[in-house]
Symmetry: D3
Subunit: 135 residues, 6 copies
């Protein structure tokens, strides 16, 4: 259950600020599907706009990293931050952008390995080697 | 400061279990440098061996993902888990494996974006869309 | 599903240690509603008492911060710690103490912003400016 | 030590994209002080601009919450996310915006209380009461 | 709902790599029950094998700590990392290995106390006393 | 560096509320050493008292778990919550209460294992088996 009611398409049609974002999501993605995070964020139209613009400018714009790699990084952060919704939505997005089952399996093993050495380094309070320092 | 003393090369020479791992680290990486996490883990030679074997089998063995991508995923998890040592060591490793400043900058922006939407989805308790479900 | 059975009102009536806390919750809040966290904590009456006394002394006693601000801080921590139950219960509490939809929206945007710069500062290992030090 | 070199004022003068942000930070804050997070972010001028604009639009623009409350919420998230730099910088900012020692002390006690009940609710997997649901 | 389909016994029978692990789980535990984490991990048979071998070698092999204490430590980490599945499975495991309700109650209070002082020490950025240093 | 000045013994002598807690710490522990967390918390004498009483009643009072096990649980939570100060202070405390190097090594391996399976279960969104439910 959501903390706020999810905005329906009918409600979005009646609110120009929400409608503008929903329209842009649909056009940018070339799909009629507007997933629940946007319908929940729409409780605060300014926050909806700000969040969508951040996502669009980083995830839907060409840059240094390819779309599949970006989604795998997104999954990694979402797992470590333990966001159930984000794990589901970005795993689906990575698959849509070409992530294979082999890549998914390896991604998860690297996430698990990193988590284990993260905890070990913290438990041991290992001092950073001077070799790793920015010169 | 470390929770346990860091094992020196002289001490490693005197302990076959530790020496075997340090030798394998050096051979696998083609470098004489053994960084501090291994010197701290060496307080528990069985744990040292277990940890090194996990790292070696996932990070130093060909698989579905290329070495640079693996390191960027490692950075993403380490940042979200807030491991200072790991951020330093894996940023250095990613750079050694070809991560450019542009890729590093974009990686950090995606990590930050993911963190922000992770927190939003949690704050709103957004229900997962059925479209994201495994069939 | 809960890890322990939730204590019902009938069971609480039969256990003086639990009954005393449930009675105090009802009296302090001026409401007959005892929410699930207390029914789960009641599996350990000593822990129930300790936890309620902490909550009561900080959240139900006048101090330096007003009740609404306290609840918004509670939400912020609960989101970052990813506690589903706490996000729901403290969002409801903040609303009951006057948090408006505009304040809720802004609270969430600040939480998301903080999460993003938290991750950036960690990813960059930014050294603390001496200007921020306690003199 | 930082993962990237900190950009000095001289280097910022030579790079128009960085200079524009540093100038805006100084003008917005009415202070010549540009703290280290911006000098580290400047390694990626696009990320610097994006981050500053987010911070400026939320933290330096009037809205539903007052500046002091915003900073206390920022502290709460930064503590739970364990960002050393952010704890220092936003505690200093909250103090500059009027947070008293009494408010600081109470803020910390609420953060600690929330952390403890967050962990209890997670350990017990308490189901959310229907009373907390959005209607 | 799971991100990947859960592998059934029939499917495991048809895949020797998966079958070998499921058989070993059953034999090691002396029980026919294979819980869901293994059925989800089986989407990546290599990851399944790696994960099971780690769990088996640490949790099902005599060592310095007794089985009940190991499970209580596992619970503590799982609560702090907020893993719903792990809280449930390891609480059940700890109970099967003899954890009493009194021990469970005390475990939870210590977890909650640690969480609160963790947040306080972070919020205050307390410098480590030299007395705690490894000599 | 600390967010607040650390209270010295001379300052504590001059403040009865602080002095009472410092005296009780010394008497309870049978040692003249008052470590830095208490000196930082003393910036808020009411918070100092509340925190010390919680720690004392759980960690310095006989109960269901022995002192060494309690400290190992404290370490596990502190590592997962990434509290540098707490890792140092509670590792020292566990050693003072009899934790051997073998137990410390095994503790760390279990923490690392738990972290890895925590992340896997989250990444896979494994549904809890009905067998683990409280009846």
């Amino acid at each position: 259950m959501s903390v706020v009611p999810l905005v329906t398409d009918a409600e979005a049609e009646a609110n120009p600020a929400i409608k503008a974002v929903f329209d842009d999501i649909r056009e940018t993605r070339g799909s009629d599907f507007v997933n629940n995070i946007w319908r929940a964020l729409a409780a605060d139209p300014a926050g909806l706009k700000r969040t969508w613009e951040s996502v669009k400018s980083l995830m839907a714009t060409p840059g240094a990293l390819d779309p599949k790699t970006r989604e795998m990084i997104y999954i990694a952060v979402s797992v470590a931050n333990n966001c159930e919704y984000c794990v589901h939505s970005h795993t689906a997005a990575a698959q849509a952008k070409g992530m294979t089952p082999e890549e998914h399996g390896e991604l998860l093993q690297i996430i698990a390995l990193a988590a284990s050495t993260n905890h070990l380094a913290t438990a041991l309070q290992v001092p950073t080697d001077p070799e790793f320092q920015a010169e």
